[in-house]
Symmetry: C2
Subunit: 471 residues, 2 copies
Amino acid sequence: MRTDLLGAQIQLIEEKPFSVVIVIAGVDGAGKNEAIARLQEWMDVRHVICNAYDVPSEDERHRPPLWRYWRDLPAKGQTSIVVSSWYNAPLRDRVLGEIDEAELNRRLTAINRFEQLLVDEGVLVLKFWFSLPPDVQKERLKPLKKKARGRRILAEWTDVRRSAKAQRIFEHAALTTSTAAAPWMVIPSQDPQARDLALGRCVEMALTKRLATTPPAEADEAAPATAPRLAPCGPSNALASVDLTRSLDKDLYQEELEHWQAELAHLTDKKAFRDMSLVLAFEGNDAAGKGGAIRRVTRPLDPRRYRVHRIAAPAEEELARPYLWRFWRRAPRLGHTAIFDRSWYGRVLVERVEGYCSEADWRRAYGEINEFEAELGEADTLVVKFWLAISKQEQLARFEAREQIPYKQFKITEDDWRNRLKWDAYAEAAEEMIARTSTPRAPWNVVAAEDKRHARVTVLRTLCDALKRTM
Amino acid sequence: MRTDLLGAQIQLIEEKPFSVVIVIAGVDGAGKNEAIARLQEWMDVRHVICNAYDVPSEDERHRPPLWRYWRDLPAKGQTSIVVSSWYNAPLRDRVLGEIDEAELNRRLTAINRFEQLLVDEGVLVLKFWFSLPPDVQKERLKPLKKKARGRRILAEWTDVRRSAKAQRIFEHAALTTSTAAAPWMVIPSQDPQARDLALGRCVEMALTKRLATTPPAEADEAAPATAPRLAPCGPSNALASVDLTRSLDKDLYQEELEHWQAELAHLTDKKAFRDMSLVLAFEGNDAAGKGGAIRRVTRPLDPRRYRVHRIAAPAEEELARPYLWRFWRRAPRLGHTAIFDRSWYGRVLVERVEGYCSEADWRRAYGEINEFEAELGEADTLVVKFWLAISKQEQLARFEAREQIPYKQFKITEDDWRNRLKWDAYAEAAEEMIARTSTPRAPWNVVAAEDKRHARVTVLRTLCDALKRTM
C-alpha cells in the first residue's frame, strides 16, 4: 500500500493535474492526529500540508468564515489535510444551541456549494469520518487527561458533543453533506493499525482512480464537462439602453466632484465604517476610463485602508487554484476597502470570449460569483459593481489618442486592438453577465462613460448612495 | 520626464533586474498623498503597489516589528511605495517620550541594517523627505480639518510632532539613517507641481542610472561585489569533535521518549507559552534523520499551533526577493511553533558549496542571519537550532538502505549522491557556520545522530531545556 500510495502521489506531484483536499473529522479519542502523522509519514511530506484551524484570529474574524479555508487551498500537485475544518463552527454552534436548525442547514448548504465548487474546479475532495463504538470511546477518553505520553487536544465543547443530541446533529450533518461530489467515508478507528491502513488505502485508491481519468495540467482538457443549463433570462439590454450622451460641463464637474469626494471622505471616516468593509469592482470596455474613475474614488480615502488590485492574466500560483482564489484572498478586513480594476467577472467576459475556460466553466461561474458576493455580504462587506460603457467609435478615438502620447502608449497594446474586433461577443457576454449577476444586494451599476466627467461623478455618487443605504 | 520615467519602468518590468522600494516621509501638509497619486498616474500602475501601514493588527503585533515590511517586499520588476514606514513607530515613540534616546538609536541602527540588507540584496531603496517651511506648513494645516475636498490623515501625535523637540528628533534620525546605501532625498513641497515633478524626476534618474549598471535578472551576475572580510574565527571543530558512538537501547529509548514528549506537551500547554513563539531549525547531513526527529517533536504538539516547513529550492516568487523573505514571512504568531526542515542556513551551506550565490553573498549572510534571529528574539521568539551529525560511512549505509525499500526510494536522488561527493566542502561550510552563528541567544546544538534513538531523545531534551530556561 505504501508503495502504491507514494507512486500515485509522485505522479500527482510531477503531472500536477489537480490538487487534493483531505478533510479529517470524527469522534474524540479515535486517534485522528496519529492517523494524520502516519499518512504524512507515508507520503512525500514536502507536498502535503496539514492545515489545522484554531479559534479564528483577528485577521480571520474580519473576513467571511470561508476566507481562511480559501486562503490555504493547495496548488495543483499539492495535498492539504484539513483538521478542524469548515464543519467545526456550524456543528459546535448548533450543539451548544447558539444557532437553530434552520441556520445550521443554511450553513451546511453553503458548505455543500463550497465543496461543489472545489470539485467543479478539479479539486479531489476526500472527507473521512473517524468512528468508534460509544463504549470504546468512553474507555479511551477516560485516561486521556492524565496520560503521560503527550496531550490530546480536547475542544471546549468536548463533553457536550458526546451527548445523544449532539450525535443526532452530527448524523444529520453527515447525511446533508454527503454529496455525490464529496461523500463522507467512514474510518472505523477501534484498531489503530487497521484505521491508518484504511485511511491510506482510501486515499491511494481515490488518487489512483482520479489520476487515471485526468490528463496532466499542461495537456488540453480532454473531455470538458457538460455545460450546466441555465435558467432562461429575459433579453437584457442594460448596456444597449444606456444613454451615452449624458455629460457634465467643467465647472459643474469640479463642484460635483468636490462635493461627492467630501461625502465619501465623511462616510468612510464614520465609526460605523469600521464595522463593515467595501469591495468595488470596475469592469467596462477597454479605454472606458476605469483607472481615472478609480483615482477619483481613492483620492479621499485613507491610504492605509484601501488597496487597488489591477487584475491581469493570472500568475502561476493563481492558475494552480480555483479561479476565485485570487479574489477571495484579497477580501478586505473590516474598515478597509479593496478596489478591483477588472475582477472575478473576467471569467464570464474575457475567459468566455477568448475561450480560456470551457463553456461549462463560465456557465457555472454565474452561480459561483453570486455565491461569492453573498458570502462577502454576509460578513458585512458591501459590494458595489460598475460597468463603464463607451461606444465603439469613442473607443477608437481614445485608442488613437493614446497612441499619439508617448507616455500613454504603454496603455494600448495589440491585445486591445484584437479585443476590439470582438466587440459584439464582449457586448453579448456583458449583457448576460449583468442579467445573471445583478442581485438585490449587489446590483450592477451601468455608467455612461462617453463623457469622463459624467462617469466619474456618477461613480462617486452611486458609491456614496450605496454606502449611505448600508450604514 | 513622464516618457523617461515610464520608459525606465518598462525596462524594469521587462528585464526584472531588481525591485524598487520608495519610502515616503515628511511633514504634514506637504501633500505626500497627492504626490504619490501623481507618481502612480505617471507609472504603469499594475507594477506599483502602495503599501501604507496603520496601527499593527493582531497578526502583526504577534510578530517582530519588521515582519509586515518584509511580508510586503516587492518582487523584482515591481515597485513598492511605502507610506507610514518602519520609521514611524520609533519616531512616534521617541517624540511621545515612550522610549529614550538610546532605544531610539538602537532602533535606527536596526533600520540601517535592514536597509543595508535590502541594498545588498539588489533592492533599489529610495527615501524621500517632503519638507515645508514652518510658516507655510502652519498656514496649510489650518484649514485642513474643515476642508471639503476630502480628508487628510492626521496621526494622533500630529500636534506634538510639530514641536521644536520633535524637529530635533527628526533631524537626528535623518542624519543617522542617511547612509551611503540609502540616503534621504529632500523634496521641497511648497509648490505642488514642482514637488511632484521633483519626485518623478528623482525616481526616474535613480532608475535609469541603476538600470544602466545592472544586468537583467536572467544574465549571470556581471561583477560580483567584493566579498566582505570577516573577523577571523578560531578553528572550529564542533562537528569534528562530536562523539558519534553515543547510543540508546530500545527500552530506555521508549522510556526517555515518553518522558520528554510529555514534558514538551506540558511546557507548550502552559499559559506562558501563549506569550512567546518557537522557531526550530533542523540542519544536518543528508539522511541524518531530520524528518524522523521532527516527527518525534511534533507528536505532542497541538496540531493547530505548529507548522513544519520543508525548505527545498526556492520558488519563483521567492527567488524574486531577498533570500530571507521566505523565512521572515513564516515567522510564527505568539503561541505558535514553526519547524524548519532545512532553513535560512541554506545560504551558507548548499548555496555556498554549490555556488548558487556569490562569495560576497554568503559571507555577509552570517551577519544577516544573526540579525534575523536577534529580531525574532526581541519579539519573544525562542530560536533553537539543531545540527544532526552522522559519519560518511553511516550516510552510505542509509543511502543504500533507502534504495532497497520501494517507498523510501523517493527520498534518495541523484542530488544526494552528488552532494556526498562534496562531503568535505559541506563539512567545512558547516563548521564555519556553527562558529559564526552560535550566538548566546541562539546557539547551535550539535546532535550525534549515528544512533537515531539517541538523536531523537537528545533533540527533545535540548528543546525542553531551552524552553524551561526561557519560560
